[in-house]
Every structure is written in C-alpha cells, then in structure tokens.
Amino acid sequence: MLNFTLRRLFAVIPTILVLIVFSFYLMRLAPGGPFTSERPLPPAVMANVLERYGMDEPLHVQLWSYIKNIVLYFDFGPSFSQKDRTVNDVIAQGFPVTLTYGFWSAIFVLVCGVPLGIIAALRHNGFWDYTMTGLAIFSQIFPNFVLAPLMVLLFTLSWGLLPGGGWNGGQWQYIVMPAIALGTSYMAGVARLTRGSMLEVLNSPFIRTARAKGLPERTIIIRHALKPALLPTLTYMGPVFVYMITGSVFIDVFFSTGGIGQDFIDGAYSRDYSILLGLAILYSLLTFALTLMLDLLYAWIDPKVRSSMG
C-alpha cells in the first residue's frame, strides 16, 4: 500500500516536468506576448521591460530558473499583465473561491445523483426511472452555458430570489447558482452510472443468495448491494471533480465569482504566460492528487484491488 503510494507519487514528478516544459515552449514559441500592443513600445523600453522580467535570456535558462523557483520556493513568478501581483497572489485569492463552490457542487452531485440512481434502479422501468432518464437527457442538452443564463433569467430577473453573480465573501445565496449550474450534468452522469451498476449488482448471484436466505429487502440493499454498486461511481467522481474545477472557468466568467477561471481567461487574452502556466500546473497537480486519493480510497474499499497493488 505504502509502496504503491510512493511509486505513484514518484511517477507524478516526471509527468509534471514534461507538462511544464511542453507548455512553456508551446506558449513562448507562439508569436506575440504580454507586452505586444497596438502601439509598439520603443525598443529601449521594451528591452528594459524584458530584462525586468528576465525574458531577455535564452529560453532554456528562463525555463530552468522558473522550475527552480517553483521547486525551491514554491514561487510561480510575477504576473506579466497585472502589476504588483504575483501568480501566487492570484491563486491565493481566486482558488479558495473556486474550491468553495466546487466543493458544494460536488456535494450536490453526490447527494442528488446517488440516491436518484439507486431509486431508479429499484424502480426499474417505473416512474422514477423515467424521471431520471429525462433528467439525464435534460442535463445533456442544457450544458452549463445554456443552463446558467436560463437560471439567471428565472431566479434573478423574473423572481428576484438569488443574486445573478458576484461572490460577496461566499454567502450561500451567491454559491447556490454556480454550484448547481456546474454540477447538473455530472449529477445526471452519476445517477446514470449508479443506476447501471446497481442494476447489475441486484441481478448478481450473491444478491439472489441473500434473497433466498430470506433477508429483508432493506438489509439486502443497504448491507450487501450498496457497497459494490457504488464503486464505479467512486472512480467516476475523481475525474468529475477535476472536470468541475477546470470546467469552472465558464462559471467564474459568467457569474463573476472572482475564481481562478476568470484569471485564466484574462491571462489567455493578455498572453500572461506566468498566470497561464501557473494555473495549468495547479490544475494538473490537482488532477493527480485527486486521482491518487481516489485510487487509495478504492483500494481501501475493494480488497481485490488492494491485493493487486502489492
């Protein structure tokens, strides 16, 4: 188990390095940059600016000092477009916001998706089953960028129940719509997956045995069927949470929550390399951390996986 964890952790390091090198060159080799504008700067000023940010040196030297700063000081460097702010500042300010509503959105996905899937499986081809299928289709055709405007239209413009954007220190009114808009499609996905695996488990021999023993249906479902049925859902939640955090770019922009998604898009517009790269690294670190955590959790639940890990 420990062995497995360590091996996975070491595998992350080269992957992140390749990611940094690849993205770094990709962005630097593209024409234009953070200091290109309609009216070009005088060459002397340009040279000064480039020197100030260490961009006059050859690329591999810059890359080396960039990686060194991250490893030694966890310093992602200054932002090119936002004066007097470092990438660390940007992350420290925006990331908690994204994490907060991302967390609530994940809760929403689990709390609504899992029971819905289980009920749909228990009432196979019944009312709840069809309701859930309908919901799944609904969420597929109303992606968050259609859903979010519709929600604002209803809850803010028509009924005036919830604020249509902003963050305001994270009061619950400001979290509700971003969390739901972000989570709906994944909620349907979780429900569909849970339904499928629950149906499969309910048709398996050990459940038949339990039924034959005369156990009450409630015990069968809660004690025997639930755990194996939730395993696929669990594996699915890892990527989902990552997608939710990275997919939150749209939510940040639309609801102006002030999360990192907004900075990411701004960075993209202004060609702010350090912000783009810093956030890309943050996103992928998050991906790896979550996948690893879920693998461990999976091993903890499923003894078969545990033994195969060695």
Partner: protein, 310 residues
C-alpha cells in the same frame, strides 16, 4: 393468450421468420434494421437532416446578410429589433443590428461543420493511435499512455489560445485545433479492444500468411472495432459542438463576423438583462434541437451496434 404469444403464433411471424432464415444477414444489415426500428432515433436523424438543410439553404430565403447592419433598427434594438415579418428580421436582430436569422443560419453552419468534421476526424486519429498502441504494446504503448496522461491534464483552453496566436481564428484553424486537442478521444477504448483481439486466431493466421503489422491493423483489426468507433463518434460529435460553443462563449473561439451557436448564445446571455430575450432563445433552441437529436441518434446506435445489448 397474451398479445405476445398471439404474435408468435401468427402467420406473418412465421413468414418473417422463414424469410429471415433464407436471407443471411450481415452484422451491419442487422444493426441497420435494429436502428430503423428505433422510432426516436429515426426521427432524430430526420431532425438533424432538417438542420443540415437549414444550414445549407437557409440563407437563400434570408432577406439580410449575416454581416449587414440594419441601420433602421440600430440604437432601438430593444423596441424595434424583435422578431417581425415586415422588415425581414424573422428572428429579430442582434445587439449590433444584424439580422439574427441570417446569423443563426451561419452559426448552424459553423457548429455543424465543426462537429461533423472535427468529431469523426479526431476519433479516427485516436482510434488509429490506440489500435497501434494496443497492437504493438511495449515501449510504444507506454509512450502513448504517458502522453495521454499528460495531455488530458493540460487545460485545453491553452491550446486554443496558443494555436490562435500562431495561425489566427478561422473555421479551418478551429477544426484543426479541436482535432489536436481531442486526439485522445476513442484512444483508450480502441486500444482495449485491440489488446483483446490481437491474440485471437484470425490475427495469428494473418501473421502466419506474412501480412505486415499495419496491414493486419487496417484489414483485420479495424473492421472488428468499427462498431466501437461508430458509437464513440456519435458521442464525440455533440461533445465537440459543445466544446466549440463553450470556447466561443468564453471569447477565444471563432472570429467575428463569423459566428457559431456558442457565440450567439453568449451574446444572447449577455444582453438578456436588457429584455432582448429572442437573442438568447433562437440560438439556444437550435442548439438544443441538435443536442437532443444527436443524443437519441447516439443512443440508437449504441442499442443497434453493441453486442452486449442483444
């Protein structure tokens, strides 16, 4: 006697069964029959064809061009710019006084083009690489899988930004960058299938006859995984349309005055607070029709092709 058993004993059924015995049917003919019996899927194909016709010939009945500004309504879009039959703006006008009907036609054209060109091409690319990785295994497989892990952890918006800095924001470039971002689509599933198939006798036989590896992949393995590729393509096309829409929504998509569903929806969402709801409603409606149709077509294809479903 239930209706089912009555049907089983009927004359027509006996005839149909006899006929089925005589004409041997291939897998694909079988699948086609199953697909055509799925009413929802067939209706969805019809709806999609309508959208294609709309995209191809819709401009011929438009009164205005999609880039033309109607100076008569500009400045009073809210009061005069709504859908009306008199001035030829059937869907109203957008914020800049351009005819929304013509713009929706243009947007439909762009989005469908992106979906139906970029979607299949990226699945093909992924399937080819996946088949090779699965067939050759070893170091090549490890490299591909390593690249895959890195690739999916890079936020894809970076690619759009960087690519545009290099080559601009035309439709062709959009399609190319989507293919590049999505080369991982279909990779894992085809790789798994090929790994399963490559040890079967017919592959051994082909190798013994002296066929080259690539010939085996193309002539013997690919036809056997074609059903997976078809199902997967039907899932990727709506995803690609959605990705394009999202990117356009965020403002790093297709260049004005060309437009897409995403760009139109984003304009509509931005202006809905002013009460010009038609600017959101019409593009969203077309988007939703396309997504619903594609969903049911994908569903029908899965039911028709997946051997597990039979």
């Amino acid at each position: 006697m239930t209706s089912a058993s009555r049907r089983l004993k009927s004359r027509e059924f006996a005839d149909a069964a006899a006929e089925e015995m005589i004409t041997s049917r291939s897998f694909w003919a079988d699948a086609r029959g199953r697909f055509l019996r799925n009413r929802m899927a067939v209706f969805s194909v019809f709806m999609l064809l309508c959208l294609v016709v709309f995209a191809l010939f819709g401009h011929t009945i438009a009164v205005w061009n999609y880039e033309e500004i109607d100076w008569a309504v500009l400045g009073q879009v809210k009061t005069e710019g709504g859908p009306s039959l008199e001035n030829g703006h059937w869907f109203g006008v957008d914020e800049l006084g351009r005819d929304l009907y013509a713009r929706v036609v243009q947007g439909t054209r762009t989005s469908l083009m992106v979906g139906f060109v970029a979607g299949p091409l990226s699945v093909m690319l992924g399937a080819l690489i996946g088949a090779m990785a699965g067939y050759f295994g070893g170091r090549f497989d490890q490299t591909v899988m390593g690249l895959y892990t890195i690739w999916i952890s890079i936020p894809y918006i970076i690619f759009f930004v960087v690519w545009q800095a290099f080559f601009g924001r035309s439709l062709t470039q959009m399609i190319i960058v989507i293919i590049i971002v999505n080369w991982t689509a279909g990779l894992l599933i085809v790789r798994g299938q090929v790994m399963m198939l490559k040890n079967r006798e017919f592959v051994d036989a082909a190798r013994m006859l002296g066929m080259s590896d690539m010939a085996i992949i193309f002539k013997h393995l690919m036809p056997n995984v074609l059903w997976v590729v078809v199902i997967y393509t039907s899932l990727v096309i709506p995803e690609v349309i959605m990705a394009e829409s999202l990117v356009s929504f965020l403002g790093v998509g297709i260049q004005e005055p060309n437009t897409s569903w995403g760009a139109l929806i984003s304009e509509g969402a931005r202006t809905m607070t002013f009460g010009t709801l038609w600017q959101l409603a019409f593009p969203a409606m077309f988007f939703v029709i396309a997504q619903v149709s594609l969903f049911y077509i994908g569903d029908g294809l899965r039911d028709a092709l997946d051997p597990k479903e039979r």
